[in-house]
């Protein structure tokens, strides 16, 4: 492939990391949803570009899924859920934004470090691409654990999964990518539906109105 093509792929992958950072930066619910939509769209473009590069038409399906399902349906659905369940519009963070960003940068550095020893035989393209994908995954994970709000946690998970799709498409000629993306879409659907069904307002672990911390089978820790 020409350097231009690879540069474009590179650019797209890098921009995903950027958007992940922007996701981390948000503290308003709807803005977060919009940025996630952007995240998904960038993913869709990147996947589409890969499809074009690898002459792999089936990847277009993945791109399409990313675009429609994650770029449109999920954000809209979440938007409505937020409205319906009256979830706080502000995202309460465990670690405040600044430190989170620093952590994120550290994670990106880590992912680059661990990717360094990978041999060059693949061509510069895959290595950086992988590093970016790994960073996106880690950033998504970071988002899941630093945001208390259920919706933002879901979005963290989805951005993590975007990173996976990025990696999967980056790996040339990898079979089952479509199936995998479909499987993940099912997972996410479960997640969203679950949030809706269980009326999870604020956190993953407060299902329904009353907090379930008391009923983890055991009543809190003391002597048995």
């Amino acid at each position: 492939m020409t350097s231009l093509e690879s540069d474009i792929a590179h650019l797209l992958a890098g921009s995903m990391v950027l958007v992940s950072f922007l996701l981390l930066y948000q503290d308003r619910m709807f803005a977060l949803l919009n940025f996630f939509a952007i995240h998904a769209c960038v993913l869709a473009f990147s996947v589409g570009w890969q499809a074009y590069l690898q002459r792999a038409p089936h990847l277009f399906i993945t791109a399409l899924i990313a675009l429609l399902f994650k770029g449109v349906i999920i954000p809209v659905a979440l938007h409505r859920i937020v409205v319906r369940l009256g979830i706080h519009r502000t995202i309460e963070a465990v670690v405040s934004i600044g430190p989170t960003i620093l952590l994120g940068i550290a994670l990106v550095g880590l992912s680059i470090i661990v990717m360094l020893p990978v041999t060059q035989a693949e061509g510069a393209f895959v290595r950086e691409d992988l590093a970016f994908a790994l960073s996106v995954v880690l950033l998504g994970f970071l988002m899941m654990i630093t945001r208390r709000n259920a919706v933002s946690q879901v979005i963290g998970f989805m951005s993590l999964e975007n990173g996976l799709v990025l990696a999967a498409t980056g790996a040339r000629g990898m079979p089952l990518v479509v199936e995998i993306s479909v499987g993940f879409s099912i997972l996410i659907a479960f997640l969203v539906v679950g949030i809706f069904l269980f009326r999870i307002r604020e956190r993953f672990d407060t299902v329904d109105l009353q907090a379930l911390d008391m009923s983890r089978g055991e009543t809190s820790g003391e002597s048995a």
């Binding site: 465990v94 880590l110 992912s111 970071l142 899941m144 208390r148 956190r203 911390d213 820790g221």
Partner: protein, 303 residues
Amino acid sequence: MEHLGGLIHRMPITAVCFLAGCVAISALPPFNGFVSEWLTFQGILLSPQLPQWIPRLLVPAVGATLACSAALAAACFVKAFGMTFLGRPRGAAASGAHETDRWSQCAMLLFAVLCLAAGTLPGFVMDALAPVMQMILGARLAPQSTQPLLRIAPIDPARSAYNGALVLVMILVAAAATALIVRRFASHALRRSAIWDCGFPDASPATQYTPGSFAQPIRRVFGSTVFRAREHVAMPKPGDPGTARLHVDLHDTLWEALYLPVIRFIDSVTVRVNRLQFLTIRRYLTLVFSALVLLLIIVGVWR
């Protein structure tokens, strides 16, 4: 034992066998317990010839301990037999007791007889056990059953010898002779009467010495250090008809020294670890995340 007593009247055979057992285990001649104790003492008396110094210093202490334990065993079994079989019944169960069946009696008698036999003819037992010594130590005592008049002399007759059979015979002869002489010269008049009650008639069996009170002197002498035994007596005020209470608390020193610390440790650890059961999902995710980052760092550092 607090509820037994006087069984010797209702269970004579059991009493005899139990008595034989008590005498044997208290290491008293002419029973078998004494033979083994005697042999051990002989061994201890040989030990100054040991080349090493530490055991040479240790062995006499061991001997003293053994002597002490033998004497304490005697005390213990005086209590065991005396409180169970002698005196007056302390409870309904004891006063209604009856002798066991023939088979149990046979079993007990058999072992009582064995105890006496092993005590009086120790030579044969020692020779029977010699091959085991041969196997373990690669050495054995000179055959004992060939010694004159059934005696045993493990090292050298001039040094020390024991003749269980002869001792038994002498005791029997002496006892018989005494009995005969007394029968011959003494008056045969014998009258059954009440216990000498010191001016308080028909004292109830509760006034007998109980096992606890029997053990009290030894408890005070030894137990106060070994078991940290403490006695608290709560006396009612003069004129107060309430009961006086004696409360004894004993501590199992070994248990408290060895096992309690372990238990405490495990308790504290479990209490701490147990918090992990009650985290929120986000915290669990944090666990996963930190594990992931840790491993990544390891991989990153590893070259």
